[in-house]
């Protein structure tokens, strides 16, 4: 067992390297108040290297190898190697389709929406390149309802110039937490039902309408567009050798300038907070990774690299890049209970242990947070009964989040059991949408 700070000093031996062009890579350096048009996009990033008349498949093979050398992993949360996913779809029988996953059902996260609202062409470039690599005949962009108009305009701009070799269209994403899960995205497109389906069959072999389907996060494809332009070596000038590149983060809560920022993977957690203006008040904890993520103590987490390796001693992962700063004035149990109730209500309603178990857990945790009589033993029993029991990872993610809250806010549990709370405000920190209809 080593402490967090010991761990930090060990892996600080491989510090993140500053890029030649520096960061941000994906986001425009300054936001002009409207999305970067095609001309501005090309002025900033240059034209794609796909010269006409060249053998498209040979090009695509070279790009795939470059993406593999870059070590790019999915930025939607699971961090799966992008090249392996591309290769699986390319090797599958049938006419593949590329689905850009910009659903971002996580209410606290805004990075894909901000990316598509500011640099839609970078995402579309990446999607079209992925179509070339996989042999896909179609690109479908699933974007948050707030940004579909912007993406539509970008597509129209390209269509007028006959820029893309495959048809590209945008579909508004469903407004649900589980809607961003890969099989739920495909189910939404095929049947209008934004809930996960059983795996197997694997989407790479049997996805949308039975076709081999690449479901790839929007930010990941934006990185693809830059790797094909600038190469793997360039990509690796940011990040760590094991987790190369930059990533978008959404920093919210008690920071001075909340918002979406871009950081090199492995940047110290405190620097990630500083990118959002730094703590606005004394902090109690951070939620890292999202609503399936992990509560970590502050300031113990400050010096850890923001990477899977760096956060491992606190059992956290960057996932889709959420960092929420919980002020010392707020109650961590109340925040955990509020989000637990939201996650229970957002169950797709398909699997019994998720439907009944998460509801029971959220109710019991709500009693704990409110200082009413509750059984922690029952709560823990139910958490272990629900873990791993769904068709998708929704129950597992919720359990992970709730367990980390019970662990980190353990002292608060005793206080609440005696009818007290160390929090001094009821103002919510983690955003939970209020549902008007069901």
């Amino acid at each position: 067992m080593i402490t967090a700070s010991e761990h930090a000093s060990r892996i600080r031996g491989a510090p993140p390297i500053a890029g030649p062009g520096g960061l941000p890579r994906l986001l425009p350096g300054s936001f002009a108040g409207r999305p970067l048009g095609l001309a501005g996009h090309l002025a900033r990033h240059g034209e794609l290297p796909a010269a006409e008349g060249q053998d498209a498949r040979a090009c695509a093979t070279g790009w795939l190898a470059e993406i593999e050398r870059a070590g790019l992993t999915g930025r939607g949360g699971a961090a799966f190697p992008t090249a392996r996913k591309l290769a699986a779809v390319a090797a599958a029988a049938g006419r593949p389709v590329v689905v850009v996953n910009g659903t971002e059902g996580e209410p606290a996260s805004a990075k894909d929406k901000v990316l598509m609202a500011t640099e839609p062409h970078l995402v579309i470039d990446g999607a079209v390149l992925a179509a070339c690599i996989t042999g896909a005949t179609e690109v479908i962009i699933v974007a948050g309802p707030a940004v579909t108009g912007i993406v539509e305009e970008a597509i129209a701009e390209r269509r007028a110039l006959r820029r893309d070799p495959v048809p590209v269209r945008v579909v508004p994403a469903a407004d649900r937490f589980v809607a961003g899960e890969a099989s739920a995205v495909v189910n939404w497109l095929a049947n209008g039902r934004p809930v996960p389906t059983p795996v197997p069959p694997r989407l790479a072999q049997h996805g949308l309408h039975g076709r081999p389907t690449l479901v790839q996060n929007a930010e990941t494809l934006a990185h693809v567009a830059l790797i094909v332009r600038h190469g793997a070596a360039w990509f690796r000038t940011a990040g760590t050798p094991a987790e190369p590149g930059s990533m978008l983060v959404t920093v919210i809560g008690a920071v001075r300038a909340p918002g979406v920022r871009e950081v090199g993977i492995g940047t110290p957690v405190s620097t990630v907070l500083d990118a959002a203006g730094g703590p606005a008040q004394r902090l109690r904890a951070l939620l890292i990774g999202g609503y399936f993520g992990t509560w970590v103590p502050w300031p113990e987490a400050a010096d850890l690299p923001f990477s899977a390796a760096g956060l491992a001693p606190l059992r956290a992962v960057p996932a889709a890049g959420l960092v929420a700063a919980l002020p010392a004035a707020a109650c961590g149990l109340a925040e955990t209970a509020r989000v637990a109730r939201y996650l229970a209500d957002e169950s797709a309603g398909q699997c019994g242990p998720c439907v009944f178990g998460l509801d029971a857990i959220a109710t019991e945790l709500g009693r704990v947070a409110a200082g009413r009589p509750a059984s922690l033993a029952l709560l823990r029993r139910w958490l272990s009964q629900v873990d791993g029991r769904g068709a998708c990872r929704h129950p597992d993610g919720a359990v992970r989040f709730i367990r980390s809250g019970l662990e980190l806010f353990g002292p608060e549990l005793d206080l609440h059991a005696r009818g007290w709370c160390s929090g001094t405000t009821d103002d919510p920190v983690l955003p939970v949408p209020r549902r008007l209809t069901r």
Binding site: T197, P198, Q350, C351, G352, P353, C354, F356, G357, A360, R381, W382, Q385, R389, G390, A391
Partner: protein
């Protein structure tokens, strides 16, 4: 060489009728809401008949015996 078999439940199809746990109590228990929890690991050779009975009795065809998945 005989392949090891595992019991798998499709949690979407399962409605918690609980018949499986009646016929194969060593392999399947029920959680606090009546949904089946499958014992970890492959079905022991001595309990293959119970496993098959559980698969057969499920009215929703939510249980199956599958070859134990290797890597990936």
């Amino acid at each position: 060489m005989t392949a090891e078999r595992v019991l798998r439940v499709n949690p979407i199809a399962c409605a918690g009728r609980g018949l499986c746990a009646e016929v194969a109590p060593e392999l399947i228990t029920l959680d606090d809401w009546g949904f089946p929890v499958i014992a970890k690991g492959p079905v022991p050779p001595g309990q293959a008949a119970e496993a098959r009975a559980a698969v057969r009795i499920c009215p929703l065809l939510a249980l199956r015996l599958a070859a134990r998945r290797t890597a990936g």
